[in-house]
Each structure stands twice: as C-alpha cells, then as structure tokens.
Amino acid sequence: MIKIFWAFVKKEFYHILRDKRTLLILFGIPVALVLLFGYTVTTEFKDASIDILDYAKDDASTELINHLQSSGHFTVNKFISSEAEMDAGFKEGTSKLVVVIPNNFTSDFYDNNPITIQLITDGSDPNNANTLVQYATNMITTFQRNKLQQPENPFIINVEDRMLYNPQLVSAYNFIPGTIALILLIISAMLTSLTIAREKELGTMEILLVSPLPPLLIILGKVTPYALLSFIDAVLVLVLGYFVFKVPILGSTILLLFACLLYVITALALGTLISTVSKTQQDAMMRSLMGLMMPSMILSGFIFPLASMPKVLQVIGQIIPATYFIEILKGVMLRGVGLKFVIYEIGILTLTTFLLLFFTWKNFKIRLE
C-alpha cells in the first residue's frame, strides 16, 4: 500500500514540476503577494503634503509649523492666505490636509485662552483622512505639552495612548498573518480542487476508480504533495515577513507551525470537497475563487474589522476558517501567547476540518454509485 501511495505522490510531483503555471502559483504568488501587501497596502505614511493657512503668523505659529514638519510625517506644500485657496489644493491633489491657525495664536497660547486649530482633510479618502487627523492631533498635543511644560489647567484630562504589541502600528504586523491565511487557502484549496478536476476532465479519474485503489488512497495521494508544498510556502512567508518586514515571532515556533499544518489540512479538505462537486477545472476555479478567496479576504477580519459589519456578515465571518487562523497567528506571533490562549480557535479549526472531511468522504462515495 505504501508503495502504491509513493507511486502516486511521485506522479503528482511530475505534474507539478512540469506545469509552469502551477509552479508560478506555488512560488510566485506567495512572494508577489507578500511584497505587494508589504509595500503598497500600508496605513503609515511619510511626507504627506499639507497646506497651512496661518492667520497668526507669529512666533508660536511658526514653531508649531516647524514642529509638524520635524516629525517626517508632513511636509508643507504651500502657505495659503484664504479659505478659498483650500479647495484648489485638494482638487489638484497637491494637499491632503490643511492646518488653520487662528489669529493671536501666540498670546492666546501663553495666556491659556481656548484655541481652536482647524484640521481640514479630504474626506473622499476617509482612511487616509482619519490617519492624518490622528497624527496631526498627536503632534499638536505634544507641541502644547512641550511648550507649556505641563498643563496649567488641572482639570484637563490627558489621554495618553499606547498601542501594545505593535506600538508603531506597523501594517506588516497585520498583513503577514492575513497573507499566510490567504496563500495557504489559494494553494491548498484551489490547486487541489483544480488537480482533481483535471483528472476528471482527462478521464484518468475513471481509470483510477476502476483500478483496485481505495478512494481514500486516491485522495490522499493527490493531496499529500500539495500539503507539503503549502507548508513550505507558509514557512517562506514567515521568513519573508521576519527578515524583510521585521514581523516578530514572539510565541512558540512549534505551536505556530502546528497551527499552519492544521490550517493546511482544513484548506485541503475544502479543496477536495469543492472538487467532488465540480466537473471541470474552470468550474473548480470559479468555486474556489468566489466561494473561498473572496469571503476569506473580506470577512475574516484581515482587511475590514468584523465587529463593524452587519450581523449576517459577522455570522458568515464566524464560520470562515481563515478568521480563526488569523486570530491564532496574531496571538502567537505578535502577542506571544501559548497554546492555552488559542485552544478555542484550534478546537474550532479541528472541528471544521473533521466536518469537511466527513462531507468530502460522503460526497466521494455517492459519486461512485
């Protein structure tokens, strides 16, 4: 039996190694995705160009402007003199934020009179606008504290925030776990469903079913090479994240790899389940792209937070394996938690896997009759 199994695995490796498309999906996509997400999908920004509408034009206002620029987050694009000019900057796209400093800034500032500094942003890009306002507000608060040493008014509540586990809000910390979840899904689920559908198209599946091979062996023989390669991919992404984007692995590496392996098996089970219901490669491709990739990307909390979605989508998000896997990855990698803290997620993934395997097995049997 072991010998037959190896004959199968060997054949499968020939398929993979001789098909440039499969090789590209296997090793090109993970690297490309990580680099793409790494360098493009980022919520940090550098040198955002801003306009300044300075009504005061005095010592303190100049100092404030210098302070804003010193951070490296902002560069001043233009000093404008009226509100009418504000629009032009936004429309041309040369300015992302306008800071309006009122008259008598210096005297009001040192006299502790209430001052209102206006921050005006381009709301057509809400994510960016929010981040810019946050950064600017922080800068202004620190400026005030530095200048006045301490708040004169004892009744002011000072809010001091610290982002634990990712103090600098590095976006790589979010996308590396998400990317691993996506890549493992693409490779394990899509490629296995494709390869099984291919055998159906070629008619070789029929020959295999006529042979004395038990169906379970056929599935295992087809799936094992992909399990191995997906696992290598998971390690590849972790290494890329660690060395290129400096994403730490604080928790146990063994626990992390175990979670990856478990998730790979879940995805493989999904892939084989898809293949039992699709007759052609195209069919399998559509099903895995629409049924797996999209929801995993959007509803897993990878890109958009689950908590802010409508109830229905939240429930769907709750049954997507990627949701739990990302939770485990973030826990182990960033917060350095042990098995005790992710046991719930691991349990859910295990349960899902068994359920999927059961359905696959059942479907496969039905098709034989």
């Binding site: 037959i4 020939y14 070629l202 008619g203 006529v210 042979s211 091979l213």
Partner: protein, 241 residues
C-alpha cells in the same frame, strides 16, 4: 468446443429516477472471445459497462465478472479487469515510460515486473524513440495503442474497451483492431463497445442494445442471416426501426 464463461449477467437493470437506462439485460461472454457491445448513443451501453466494472451499482439483477460478483466482490473484479475509455486517459504531461510505471505501480506490480513490462510495451508498439517525450506530442493513433497496452499492464483476464476507436481515422482504426486480435490470441477476453458497424464484423459475437434492452445477440454472420441483411449496418438499421 465450448470454453468457460467469464462474464455472466442476469436481468441487470439500472434506473435513474423514472428513467430505465438498462432494462433487464441477460447475456454471457466466453473466455477468449471478442465480444462486441453495440448500440446507438444513449442506448445504455456505457451505463451497462459501468455496472460491469464496478463504477455503478445495479438497481436490480446480478452479474459475475471473472468469477466474482460485481456487487459484493467489486474489489476482486477490479483486480482482474482492464479498462480503456474513449478518452484514452493517459497523463499528457508524463512520458510513455512514466505512464506505464505509474499504472503498473497502482496495480501493485513489483519494480522488476514494471521494468520488463515497460520494455515489452515500448518494443511492441515501437515507441522507443519517444519513450522519454511527453505523451502530449504523440499522434492520436500511438496514444490509443499505448492506452490499450497500459490497460493490460497487469495482465487482466478481461479488458473492457469503451468506444476505443472514437475520433480516429479508418487506417488507424484498422491497425487498432490488429492489436485487439493480438490480445485476443493470447487468450484475453475483449469486451468492446462501438457504434461503427463495420467494426462489428471483426467481433466473434455481438449484442445490439436498443433503448436499454438487448435486442439481438449472435455472431455477425448469423445476425445477417437472421435479419436477411448483407451487412451489420443493415442489421442495425432494421433493429432500430
């Protein structure tokens, strides 16, 4: 001289919902025969063959292939039969050698057996020059003969051919029948479905299926006499009306 029976079918029936694809067919095939299983498209040939090779469970009736019950001993049946479908079902991206090795492997042949088999097949089919090229580059006729040889890699008693000459030109079809004769001379039973009536003449005995039932079963010559026809084509047309 009557030799032993190798396929025996009694009232075999397959229903899909209300539709009866195969309706109580009964026949037997002797060892070493070339048995033609004819019928128009949709007459139920493929469904019948699927029941015989263990891919489909009969709704009613029973059958024995190579001495084993097709329902209860499907695993034993599978070990003793070879099967080739109309798609020639080879792996396109593997070489002939690798295809032989893989199929030999899944039938549990030893390394040495596979080696001798590979040599035998490549020599017999004159495929040595392309042994290490992928199958995708081979002409259709070569693929067909290779698929046939591979379906017999484990020396089965019976080989089932489901429309093995579909889409191949007449010259290649004739050549293929030569190889079928060779297999039959070695004592192998060949069960072949086709809708080319000229091919029916090559068979020892033929059965003709119409709408799920076997309407005629005899040697081609007897059938022609029975239906007062000069060719199998005529026999078939008379039956189908």
């Amino acid at each position: 001289m009557h030799s032993e029976t190798i396929i025996q079918v009694n009232g075999l029936t397959k229903r899909f919902g209300d539709f009866t694809a195969v309706n109580e067919i009964t026949f037997k095939v002797d060892k070493g025969e070339i048995f033609g299983f004819l019928g128009a498209n949709g007459a139920g040939k493929t469904t019948a063959i699927k029941m015989l090779i263990g891919l489909s469970k009969p709704t009613k009736g029973s059958g024995k292939v190579a001495g084993f019950d097709i329902e209860k001993q499907a695993e034993h049946v599978k070990k003793n039969i070879g099967y080739m479908s109309q798609k020639f079902s080879l792996y396109d991206d593997l070489t002939p050698k690798e295809n032989i090795r893989f199929y030999g492997g899944i039938y549990g042949l030893s390394r040495n057996e596979i080696k001798t088999k590979t040599k035998e097949i490549l020599e017999e089919l004159d495929l040595k020059s392309v042994a290490n090229k992928t199958v995708v580059s081979l002409p259709l006729g070569w693929k067909q003969r290779l698929a046939f040889a591979i379906s017999m890699v484990h020396d089965p008693d019976i080989v089932f051919l489901d429309e093995p000459t579909g889409g191949v030109d007449p010259k290649v079809r004739r050549e293929f029948w030569e190889t079928i004769y060779q297999a039959s001379e070695k004592g192998r039973t060949v069960f072949v479905t086709t809708h080319y009536m000229d091919e029916a003449e090559y068979c020892d005995r033929v059965s003709i299926m119409v709408a799920g039932k076997i309407e005629a079963l005899d040697t081609p010559n007897n059938l022609k006499q029975q239906f007062n026809a000069t060719s199998m084509d005529e026999v078939f047309l008379k039956l189908a009306r």
